[in-house]
Symmetry: C2
Subunit: 348 residues, 2 copies
DNA sequence: TTAAAATACTAAACCGTTTTAGAAATTTTT
DNA sequence: AAAAATTTCTAAAACGGTTTAGTATTTTAA
């Protein structure tokens, strides 16, 4: 089974009385193209098998400059959206014989830079990145070095790179339009910090699109950025403010699952009832939404598809780089779906 | 920033007119102990810094036989329990300068073996394993090779190894006792497959302990194993069976969060009401339980503490191995907490 | 004044692969 | 029968570090 992996190419070569070169070629499937006789090939393969030979990855990596590993950076692997994404990425890369290194950046720019450096240092063959950064310096230097990477989930408008995203703006538009079609006019949008992140920006745009489209005035007062460090209290504060101003919206659109959880808690603790007192629609479907009472209408992202596309593009890029052909940039924008449940009240 | 890392030790040595040996020593903090003059040390460090030297991990790993990476195998990183565990492990190892490789075994014995092999092949310095396997062959061979590893969450009774677990039996006992103290007598236990896993076994034992302690007869009919592939339907079937037999329990104890989710769905769809028709207590606290109506009483595992302990023990072991001292085995058993909410009816 | 010790450093081996450049033995061509 | 081509295989370099076993020079001790 798992043997004391001390068997090296040299050992095999020695016992067989052939050269390391030959053994290496055979085991890498290059026996035929190098004119190694069938018989010798067989002898090598058999012995390698029976000695349970496993090539030393360090030696291999050192020589070839590749690790067969790819890196994934997300903001927090314990967020269900990212953990499911990571799982899909894991499955996809392992199908192609790659390993995965998952890292959490914690929405910290500094940490993200460190992780990026670490992954490059570990010589990963490519990186899938959901970036927290506002600037593009770091990805630009990746680009300049011709390092394969793909941006997912969060992207930069003004920067050309491989990207796999969801059509956040349309997704949000549809969600808010759904609210509007139920007769609502006073609709608030809650965004999570840092608000510069493309998903948040786009979803907020989509919210505004929907209002505009239906000629509902856009009110700054109904657009709030919530600090992710203290969601529950921040949200509670917002509700209290609305209430005391006698400006309570009839519906809220929430752009993130963590934010939604905070909202549900706050709403409950303030004694409000969904959807009677307030309607809600959230981005990111999580188990909770399906089982909450009432079940929460939400925007579903095609997580598996995001992962598959990102991996495919990345592996393509790695291959292209190996052949030192010139890279092309691929953009993929996937559509979301809205799953209607019972969290939006139909107004007269 | 992230520079084209082509700078090697030799480059630094060359420009400074010293040997690679010296540079290596200085950069590894062994300058003093090897009597390198302060002045030279400074020159080396400065140049390394300014050239943005980053040691090649492959070369280093090849020579030293270590990767500064540890492996974590769980059944599924998208399960919130494991994703939170993974996150804590990530934080803990990175504080000690290690990197982490997270893998999902999917409750497949074959996959688990493959992952183990892969990690060993990648020369990780140690492994944290939440095993799916029934047999101990694989961990025995780790043991025999003196490979540092620690078993978490799921362990083997008949096998000596480093372990960090939770006191599942007592946790379950307390949970069921809480149900009993509310006047229940017809209490069922739902376990998830594969049922041989220690957590499931122990929690079921705890359930029986509680019944015995309070002189309630133990009835096989109320102990069900649910296939994890089709939880919702399996659970629904069980409820229907109980109903048609006129044997509906007044309370159920559920040993896993995924199972609980299936139960909540099934219970809702069968038109039953919690806790009026049926009371429920689950293991593993998840967001859903806090926000469900009614909020679900559950047993909380000290996830962060599990992770920290496991990492500490593992890193200790790695250190011990480096000094080729003889390994000692550490066992850690952490207590759970029960968080009482509103899912258990107080019977007259 | 010479031997021993301390200081400051280095050449070369080594880790285990892959790859380059070519060699030896056999077969084919002329 | 010599030249050319084919088949089968190999020695040695390279990847970039760490470590071992020294060496040369200066200082201290006897």
């Amino acid at each position: 089974m798992i043997k004391n992996k001390k068997v090296s190419l040299a050992d095999i070569a020695m016992t067989l009385g052939v050269s390391k070169t030959l053994v290496s070629m055979v085991l890498n499937g290059k026996g035929d193209e190098n004119g190694i006789s069938k018989k010798t090939q067989e002898r090598v393969m058999e012995l390698a098998e029976s000695m349970n030979y496993k090539p030393n990855q360090f030696a291999r990596g050192l020589r070839m400059g590749r690790s067969n590993t790819i890196g994934l950076i997300v903001s927090d692997i314990s967020n269900p959206f990212y953990s499911r994404l990571a799982r899909s990425v894991e499955d996809a890369v392992s199908e192609s014989g790659y390993n995965l290194m998952i890292c959490s950046s914690d929405e910290s720019e500094e940490k993200e830079m460190k992780l990026l450096e670490m992954l490059i240092n570990k010589q990963v063959d490519g990186i899938i990145l959901s970036s927290t950064l506002d600037s593009t310096d770091h990805v630009e230097s990746l680009q300049n070095e011709n390092f394969p990477f793909v941006l997912i989930d969060r992207i930069y408008n003004d920067f050309e790179a491989n990207t796999v995203v969801v059509d956040n703006r349309t997704g949000a538009l549809e969600a808010v339009e759904f609210i509007i079609n139920n007769g609502h006019k006073k609709i608030a949008a809650l965004v999570i910090s840092p608000a510069h992140i493309s998903t948040q920006v786009d979803r907020l745009e989509g919210y505004k699109d929907a209002l505009s489209k239906h000629s509902i005035p856009i009110n700054q007062y109904y657009q709030k950025v919530v600090k992710r460090e203290d969601i529950y209290n921040a949200v509670s504060q917002i509700f209290i403010e609305w209430k005391s101003d006698h400006m309570m919206p009839t519906a809220i659109f929430v752009t993130n699952n963590q934010l939604a959880i905070g909202c549900l808690e706050a709403i409950r603790d303030l004694g409000l009832s969904i959807p009677k007192d307030i309607s809600i629609v959230s981005f990111d479907d999580i188990d909770l939404f399906k089982l909450y009472s009432p079940p929460i209408t939400s925007v579903i992202q095609p997580i598996n598809s995001i992962a598959r596309n990102a991996v495919e593009i990345l592996l393509d890029n790695i291959k292209i780089k190996d052949n030192s052909e010139s890279l092309i940039k691929t953009h993929k924008c996937l559509q979301t779906n809205i799953v209607v449940r019972n969290s939006v009240l139909k107004l007269a």
